[in-house]
């Protein structure tokens, strides 16, 4: 009763079998219908995201955002899309045609591919791959490939430079993301996302919050959003690797980036926020879909919040932050979690997902975080001592302007 998606699927299957089709063809047709429905819903969601992004950025910047087209500016994304569709489709001279047209397709399709492994409900899942976590990393790596193809095929040295920097950033942040992804895998004893969600009686963000933070930061850097958006910063390198893409091809890059943010939020929710867990999600699986999307959107709001609050990092600061800070922190966290897990399970017979286990892991995470913060403070003090000269302060000396100051 509470699972309309599977009920409709079974009803369709019985109809198709009644028409006399073999069972293999029937399951293939049902899978195809599922793929088409999911992708259509996601692409419609993408249109809504354009509106959400512009309204939220406007409110963060203390203005109203689009409010002329339709009530609350809801028709604005359609106007944007029509504008992109009727733009002239230019291919730069000397560009490699096939390689030039491929990256927009790769940018959007790798994002849609990620939704195949995200568990939407206890019974609604694209495919229960038993290496789903690695699948997510693999698809992210293919997205990186699309960017370098875009940069090279544009026959433009600024596009190539932008592509190099983007790919260097993405590869650098794949390492801490992968290490931080291993920690929920370790806690849940499985790489399948459905098993990780199923193992979260206590949400993993309360068990290993530091891993969640590391994954969150690395994921924002993988997305290429601020404060890590040196690649497409309009004020710096004039749109980076997609500088030569016009019209709907640029639209696909833009839409792919927005949808990627929601996809990464959904992955984070499955890994750390309990996925489809929520009140009554076991009896009514369709509520699980609602909970997952709610958590994904809350996290998407946090990603946008981070975007519009922090200044941009330089490329060397960004790479240094990844290699010199995040990777050692993630590695030491992985070692501590693994050792603690082994000690708790074998010596003290504490099983996973019991409160004692969760509290010990939480204590270990808090200790590591405190040690890191103290280490950073002493490092900062050391850095300040290295530059002991007074920094010039910009105040106007009064003596020069005495005669200009009007005496009341």
């Amino acid at each position: 009763m509470g699972d309309p998606i599977n009920s409709i699927g079974n009803w369709l299957e019985s109809i198709l079998l009644g028409w006399g089709l073999p069972a293999g063809v029937v399951s293939a047709i049902l899978a195809l219908i599922g793929v088409v429905v999911l992708c259509s819903l996601l692409l419609v969601l993408d249109i809504v995201l354009v509106w959400v992004e512009r309204k939220v950025v406007a409110r963060f910047q203390d203005r109203l955002g689009p409010n002329r087209l339709g009530p609350f500016g809801l028709i604005q994304p359609f106007a944007d899309i029509i504008k992109l569709l009727i733009k002239e489709d230019i291919t730069p001279a000397g560009a490699d045609k096939f390689i030039y047209n491929l990256p927009p397709i790769i940018a959007l399709s790798t994002v849609l591919l990620l939704w195949a492994v995200i568990p939407l409900a206890p019974t609604v899942l694209g495919g229960d791959v038993n290496v789903a976590v690695l699948f997510i990393v693999a698809v992210g790596a293919v997205g990186t490939l699309g960017i370098i193809m875009a940069g090279w095929a544009s026959n433009n040295k600024y596009a190539l430079l932008g592509a190099f920097r983007t790919v260097a950033q993405m590869i650098s942040y794949e390492v801490p993301m992968l290490i931080a992804l291993l920690i929920p895998v370790l806690l849940a004893r499985s790489m399948s996302l459905q098993n990780i969600v199923g193992a979260q009686n206590v949400w993993f963000i309360f068990v290993v919050p530091l891993a969640a933070i590391i994954f969150f930061i690395s994921a924002i850097a993988e997305l290429g959003r601020a404060p890590f958006d040196i690649n497409e910063a309009e004020s710096e390198i004039v749109a980076g690797f997609h500088i030569e893409y016009t019209g709907m091809k640029f639209g696909m890059f833009y839409a792919g980036e927005l949808l990627h943010a929601v996809t990464v939020s959904a992955v984070f929710s499955s890994l750390f926020l309990g996925g489809w867990h929520g009140p009554f999600a076991d009896q009514f699986p369709v509520l699980g879909v609602f909970y997952l999307l709610a958590k994904a959107f809350i996290l998407y709001y946090v990603i946008m919040w981070v975007r519009y609050s922090f200044p941009r990092l330089r490329i060397d600061q960004m790479l240094g932050f990844s290699w010199k800070f995040l990777v050692p922190l993630a590695l030491s966290l992985l070692i501590v979690v693994a050792i603690l897990d082994r000690i708790l399970v074998t010596s003290f017979q504490v099983q996973a997902s019991t409160p004692l286990y969760a509290i010990s892991m939480l204590a270990a995470n808090v200790i590591i975080a405190l040690v890191t913060v103290l280490g950073l403070r002493s490092y900062a003090k050391l850095e300040r001592k290295r530059f002991p000269e007074d920094r010039p302060v910009a105040i106007a000396p009064e003596a020069d302007f005495k005669e200009l100051i009007v005496q009341e």
Partner: protein, 169 residues
């Protein structure tokens, strides 16, 4: 029947793009054909019921090694166009040698009685990824090659940085 058609398509795509890798003139095109053939190899692993190796192939080969090769190609070009011959003068000898080796391998396989083994069933209830993980860290299984491979990767990492370091002189 369906499996045979799928295997045929995958084999044709992989071998075709491998031929394009070794014959195409433009280096970046060769790298992209290599990526396509590596995808084909990854799909072959999926056909062989080894899903872990499918995703590991995509992550390592396509996500890291291919990008590294594309970077190296772009950093070591003299001009934007490739001029001159792209093959050695003795290329026909290399082709002949490859064909001889292929024929030799086929003949050697055909004299082996295990050549036409049919597909046995996988042991049921065994999680392959878990077994692989246990095998790689078990003291009476393969922990020693695993650790040696880790040291090898560390040495390659440090060595690559040292070799490609730009001396500021």
């Amino acid at each position: 029947m369906v499996m045979q058609i799928i295997f045929l398509i995958v084999a044709v795509v992989t071998l075709g793009s491998a031929v394009m890798v070794v014959t195409v003139r433009n280096l970046v095109h060769a790298a992209l054909w290599l990526i396509l053939s590596l995808f084909g190899v990854a799909v072959t692993f999926a056909l062989l019921n080894a899903p872990f190796f499918t995703v590991v192939e995509v992550v390592i080969y396509i996500g890291a090694i291919s990008i590294l090769m594309i970077f190296a190609i772009m950093l070591t070009r003299r001009t934007m166009q490739e001029t001159g011959r792209s093959v050695n003068p003795g290329w026909w000898l290399a082709a002949f040698l490859s064909l001889v080796l292929f024929a030799g391998l086929l003949w050697m396989f055909s004299t082996w009685d295990g050549f036409s083994t049919t597909l046995p069933d996988l042991p049921a209830g065994v999680d392959q990824v878990r077994e692989l993980g246990i095998a790689l860290v078990s003291p009476n299984m393969y922990v020693l090659p695993f650790e040696v491979a880790s040291v090898l990767l560390l040495a390659a990492l440090i060595g690559a940085i040292v070799v490609a370091w730009e001396r500021k002189s």
